[in-house]
Amino acid sequence: MESATTAGPATTAARDVVLNVEGLRIVLDPSGHDIDDDVSLVIRRGEVLGLVGESASGKTTVATSLLDYQRRGAKIAGGRVEIDGQDVLAMSPAALRGIRGGAISYVPQDSSASLNPALRIGTQLMEILECHGFGASTAEREARLAQMMAEVLLPSDKQFLRRYPHQLSGGQQQRVAIAMAFANRPKVIVLDEPTTALDVTTQAHVLDTVRDLTKSYGVAALYVTHDLAVVSNLADRIAVMYAGRVIESGTRDELFAAGHHPYTRKLLASIPDITGERALRGIPGWAPRPGKRPSGCAFTPRCDWAVDHCREEFPPVEELSPGHRVRCWRSKEVGAQAADLDVHLRDKSLSARETEEKQVISVRDVTAFYQRKEALHGITASLCERRCLALVGESGSGKTTLARCIAGLHPHKIVGDIDFFGKALARDARQRPRATRQAIQYIFQSPYSSLNPRKTIGQILSQPLKVFFQLSHDEMEGRMLKALEQVALDSSLLSRYPDQLSGGERQRVAIARGLAAEPTMLICDEVTSWLDVSVQAAVIELLAALQRDMGLSMLFVTHNLALVRSIAQEVAVMNEGRIVEYGLVDAVLDDPQADYTKKLLSDTPTV
């Protein structure tokens, strides 16, 4: 691949360049802190560029500024954005309206919020064709509409087009948004994490659609995501952003096999490995926000390779081979070790079943209702002491319902037996004895909702201590500090409020709150789904270590099959309220029996 690019010098390559971004600099408006600086990207016809970075890396700001759009408080302070040689940033408002949705289009992260809920989807799709004057007649536009729907694999009959957005599933909504983006045959399309909110099977469909359409129309696509695994099968080239700068860019193979920046290497190590050979490694800390970025190379505080020089000066762009650029003072040394850096083998010692273990939770023939609708149908499963059972399924599979039934948080009717150490559990947590409430701790999906925003971390951690133990003030303080230490957080956090913490820290606090109760069993409900991949890896590492060291039993609910090997010993795959496959993790993932498991496995993006 490298030799091909070297052979054809700039002349042929330049003709193909559709989107050219040069030295783009975007700052926060009143303060002047840079969100993005010196961002240069090139995308050619029919090429997909993956723009990868953690939260607060400035990737979405770059994406929207390609359409000369900035969110409130941001301002473009320099640079050029050219589409086919035309400078977008210099255009008049009228000219901009003309190219937005025409020559360049945008697919937002949450299509359910971007489609107008009061208009039928057919009307909305026609609207985008009409306002860009596509075709000569209504008949021509209707033909294009039918073609668009076919391209995104949606029916184009009258009945479907007369539906409102809320009558569509999340995946269908996202495909309508993609159809809209491709409607006017754009030259450039910007996709901003369009699959983050979707199930893996739906995500696989959407990614296929994007890949096919960009190739067949020769569109230049920018695909923004925090998940390297998602772009690994989609993007031709990848640019990794950190703290508002592109720190490495190159072809997919160059980055994955021979990444020369420590951050690229670490991002790769944080991707869950579905084959189960590689252990998950998180990146400690988090990406610094605009205005809080250190001088020199911004990655220095999280970098194992950092030397004094890194703190002093930001490294210049270095071209390793044509198209493969990196910004790191020590790229040569990092690159030299690319093959063996950060590869840690997974500990498989727990993967075998020991027969004489006590059952912590045993669920027999449980049927649960949501309002009047049956959500779980005759579930039977069990969890042994000191082991972790993963409940895997897509949204609506009933995995969270089952977890909440066990936790005593399911407010509707439940039929069947749920035993805890052989004794029947009351349906409602309030009716359970204190010792049981203490023994079973539940960690919620979103740390943004599970911590009271009006309380300090100290007050939040003291809640279980007050309920379950009679402690003096000093003992309480000691227990809180111990809980924070267990989740690797600093004691200074006690006086802070949740909104002063990053998402990963918040989830650690939520875990610490559960640990403070000194439980025997943890129920983790999609605890990493709100987190960046790099932070997710760190949280999984933490949970696995806690489970091993403290001898906890754990129920781990997730939609991500790739995570399962990194944490669980047993897995139950759920679909539509039933367990379709149940067994030891390695056995299930190596040789899946159920069709549904096979499909889930093949749809899960891997590196």
Binding site: K292, N452, R454, Q463, R496, A510, A517
Partner: protein
């Protein structure tokens, strides 16, 4: 070991935003934000002026409120009688100085009663849901069906004009309106996961209501308090005017309007001054409530917590 060093280093990356032990709670932030607005400053100035008048008035009043100083409806004669005399010859300025206390105190008391009652009902219905919610809210709908003044008049005319009864009835007539606001705010907060977490620990219900949910709904309640205070002032003054409040010879703005209305053509001041003061007072409280409301919207927009 290496990891730990890096974790500590990340502190350098993200220094704490506020490192105080206590951060101003949301309602304090709302007040602070509201204070930046001119409308709030004007409202507070008006309110403070009239409260000061009512508090200091009795000390600087030239006469006793029940002292006959001149013939009825005597015209103003500065410097002895700035505003003339009323229908039986009391000094109007003196009675204006004395007459504010009752209106302000009674309306504050009535609003607090309404707030206490309304917030309790709102929290309970918003959190309990199901039949408790349904039955209490339907009862409140019945109370809501009566205009506030009619509800108060109904009981006052049966049980007689007693001050505590007026305060209580005005308070009760506020309760359903405040309860609706509190319930709506509670519904939103109660579905968040930190409430589920407290339930899973087995935290008693009343503690969840007051420690978990209540702190998140104080700001809308603050706005509601300002608004209801405005209504209380109007209602209490109206009841006094109708003769159900303070009884003669006590000095009271509402009562003064009633007593002197027949002489409005020859001696307008004993009517005009109390009317103006009551009107301006409600404008003041309303401006404060408005400022708080606008500040609240601003804070919810900026922090994303509300």
């Amino acid at each position: 070991m290496n990891d730990e060093i890096i974790v500590n280093d990340s502190e350098l990356v993200e220094p704490p935003v506020v490192h105080a032990d206590r951060r101003p709670s949301e309602w304090l932030m709302t007040i602070r934000e509201a204070w930046h607005m001119r409308r709030t400053k004007i409202g507070v100035a008006i309110f403070a002026f009239i409260v000061a008048l009512a508090v200091v008035g009795p000390w600087i009043a030239p006469y006793s409120p029940t002292q006959f100083v001149a013939p009825p409806y005597a015209s103003p004669a500065p410097p002895k009688m700035w505003l003339g005399s009323d229908y039986i010859g009391h000094d109007v300025l003196t009675r204006v100085f004395y007459g504010g206390r009752t209106v302000i105190l009674l309306s504050l008391a009535a609003t607090l009663i309404g707030l206490g009652l309304g917030v309790s009902l709102g929290l309970i219905t918003g959190y309990a849901r199901r039949w408790i919610d349904e039955s209490i809210m339907r009862i409140l709908d019945v109370v809501l069906a009566f205009p506030q003044i009619v509800l108060a008049l109904l009981f006052v005319s049966i049980l007689g004009p007693r001050l505590w009864l007026i305060v209580l009835m005005v308070g009760i007539s506020h309760a359903p309106r405040i309860a609706r606001v509190a319930r709506a705010a509670t519904l939103e907060v109660a579905q968040r996961d930190f409430v589920r977490a407290a339930e899973a620990f087995g935290v008693p219900r009343w503690k969840i209501l007051f420690n978990e949910i209540m702190p998140s709904i104080t700001s809308p309640l603050l706005v509601e308090f300002g608004l209801r205070l405005t209504y209380s002032i109007g209602l209490i003054a109206a009841l006094s005017f109708l003769g159900f409040g303070m009884q003669p010879p006590a000095a009271d703005w509402g009562l003064m309007i009633n007593e002197n209305r027949l002489g409005i053509i020859i001696q307008p001041w004993p009517v005009v001054v109390p009317v103006l003061l009551i009107g301006v007072l409600t404008i003041g409280t309303n401006l404060i409530a408005d400022g708080l409301g606008r500040a609240l919207i601003g804070i919810e927009r900026d922090t994303g917590v509300g």
